[in-house]
């Protein structure tokens, strides 16, 4: 299977491990992710101002690039890119007047009407591969590993672009974890915000929000938190040392991208997972808790 792939800027720099691990896993699954030959930053945050159409230009241009490739579907790995592209796509499908304005403004591009389907790797695994098929390809079952699926905001909100039919009680990451043989942890903060961009202007507020997520996961027995967003991973993982003092008795909790866990379970070598970009505690967890590859 071949699929057009939109990486997003952060996956080429700070979140290279999100991308590297996903591409390695996709190779095992026999999916060729073809990076768009031309793409630009999607803007990372969907603009909510109703008449601020200039910030829709970047994501719509990316969707046009997908259409130019003759592809019907584009895959993303980053929650924020997913959210921005999916919402811009809806705008182009549903709002005739804004669609006209945007198409007229981009008069050097072919017109776009929302023809492309935006997928996150998780929905692709669910809808095109299936959890059963995925489970059959696991070579390092994560049996007994208690993992907290962290959805955060942008995978499930707003409802029309949610990757799960029940944005308030999503199960897609839980199902994903079960397919890999791990034990998903049910904890209340799974769809709460990590603090997001507050990390820049109000770092304390962001740390408090992150502490809430980590404490909730830990109280319910998680050994590991998985994320699909570079900003969530930054707040919960990279900044964890600053976060810990904000939660009573909070201990270090390893974090990994969902793609790293996927690649691990599929038997991809540790050296392809970009673990050096993950928190030290995550490296330790991989070494101690994840069994070596099963020989077929």
């Amino acid at each position: 299977m071949k699929i057009a792939y939109y990486p997003g800027c952060t996956l080429k720099t700070r979140a290279k491990n999100l991308e590297d691990a996903a591409l390695a896993a996709l190779r095992v699954l026999g999916i060729a992710a073809v990076e768009l030959p031309r793409w630009n930053c999607c803007g990372a945050v969907y603009s909510l101002t109703d008449d601020d159409l200039i910030h829709q230009v970047a994501p719509v241009r990316d969707l046009i690039r997908v259409k130019e490739q003759g592809a019907e579907t584009v895959m993303t790995l980053c929650s924020m890119c997913y959210n921005t592209l999916a919402r811009a796509n809806r705008l182009m499908r549903e709002d005739e007047e804004k669609r006209h304005t945007l198409n007229t403004f981009m008069d050097e591009e072919p017109d776009y009407h929302g023809e492309v389907e935006v997928h996150h790797l998780l929905t692709l695994l669910r809808d095109r591969i299936g959890w059963k098929t995925l489970a059959a390809k696991v070579r390092r079952p994560l049996t007994g590993l208690k993992v907290a699926p962290y959805y955060g905001c942008t995978l499930v909100r707003p409802r029309p672009v949610s990757i799960d039919p029940r944005p308030d009680q999503p199960t897609i990451l839980d199902d994903f974890l079960r397919a890999l043989g791990a034990e998903p942890v049910d904890y209340p903060a799974r769809i709460e915000c990590c603090g997001a961009y507050n990390i820049l202007s109000e770092p304390d507020a962001a740390h408090r929000a992150s502490a809430n997520v980590l404490a909730s996961a830990e109280r319910h027995g998680a050994e590991l938190v998985i994320t699909s967003c570079p900003l969530c991973e930054y707040n919960l993982g990279t900044c964890q040392n600053q976060v810990l003092p904000h939660g009573e008795g909070l201990r270090p909790l390893p974090t990994l991208y969902f793609s790293q866990l996927l690649a691990l379970a599929l038997g991809v070598g540790n050296e392809e997972l970009g673990l050096e970009l993950s928190p030290a505690s995550s490296l330790k967890l991989v070494a101690e808790r994840i069994s070596p590859i099963h020989q077929a």
Binding site: P7, G8, C9, K12, T13, R38, W39, N40, C41, G43, I54, H55, V57, A58, R61, F105, M106, E108
Partner: protein, 250 residues
């Protein structure tokens, strides 16, 4: 009088507007020559006259066309009723940095030019570039940290600054691209081993004797030697090799 008896051929004159003032100038001139014909004398806004220095960027419109057009005055042929102005310089902030102390990583560019992230992908820069550089694309490459791709994509830039004049994010694109090319050239491309070897040979006196001899040679003889020098032909591919007795091969 019969037209055929005229000594000079009839030159077709066409109207153009330079900064709002109408002039009748001979058709088929470049914008630069047309302006000189109209009486302008360039002390700025003109350099190479060969389309490479970027000093002569010109903005113009055509009747009944809402589009902004641009071109290099020394290269662009005039059109009837076009109205134009030159934009020989466009102010844009230029960061100060010392390449020799840098590593050639994207964060160095982000720190020098944080406004990079104000790009909204409107593409006005690419549309206006007289060298057909894909300006928006090289900015996109830099946002994702790909210095090499940006350096290659901006290679044809002649620093005219028209991109900066149209940018709604107020980026100085051409300065940012220049920094990318500098970092790429100085820090990211492999060093040429044969160059270092040759420099060493020269320092050890490879050409010493020859240069001493040239210093006492008279001008006429020098000219002769110069014209007879061995040189790689302009259009040669890889097939050209210097002759065996070329001193550089010693």
């Amino acid at each position: 009088m019969n037209e055929s008896t005229l000594k000079t051929p009839m030159i077709k004159m066409i109207p153009i507007f330079i900064m709002g003032q109408k002039y009748e100038v001979p058709a088929e001139l470049t914008i630069m020559k047309a302006m000189e014909y109209a009486g302008y004398k360039f002390i700025r806004g003109c350099g190479c006259r060969g389309g490479i220095c970027g000093a002569c960027s010109t903005v113009y419109r055509k009747p009944g066309d809402y589009k902004i057009h641009t071109g290099l005055a020394c290269q662009t042929v005039i059109e009837p009723e076009m109205y134009l102005t030159q934009l020989p310089f466009y102010p844009a902030l230029k960061a100060t940095y010392d390449v020799s102390t840098m590593q050639g990583i994207a964060t160095e560019i982000f720190e020098a030019y944080p406004e990079l992230f104000r790009c909204v992908a409107c593409n006005a820069c690419t549309k206006v570039c007289p060298m057909d550089v894909k300006v928006m694309d090289y900015i996109a490459y830099l946002k994702r940290g790909d210095i090499e791709a940006a350096a290659r994509a901006s290679f044809d830039c002649i620093q005219c600054g028209l991109c900066a004049s149209r940018c709604m994010g107020e980026l100085p694109q051409y300065h940012i691209a220049q920094m990318a090319r500098r970092l790429w050239g100085a820090k990211l491309t492999p060093r040429a081993q044969h160059l270092a070897e040759m420099v060493l040979k020269i320092e050890q006196g490879l050409f010493g004797e020859l240069i001493a001899k040239l210093e006492t040679t008279d001008t006429a003889e020098l000219k002769k030697l110069y014209n007879a020098r061995e040189m790689e032909p302009a259009m040669s591919r890889n097939e050209w090799k210097p002759s065996k007795d070329n001193v550089g091969l010693r």
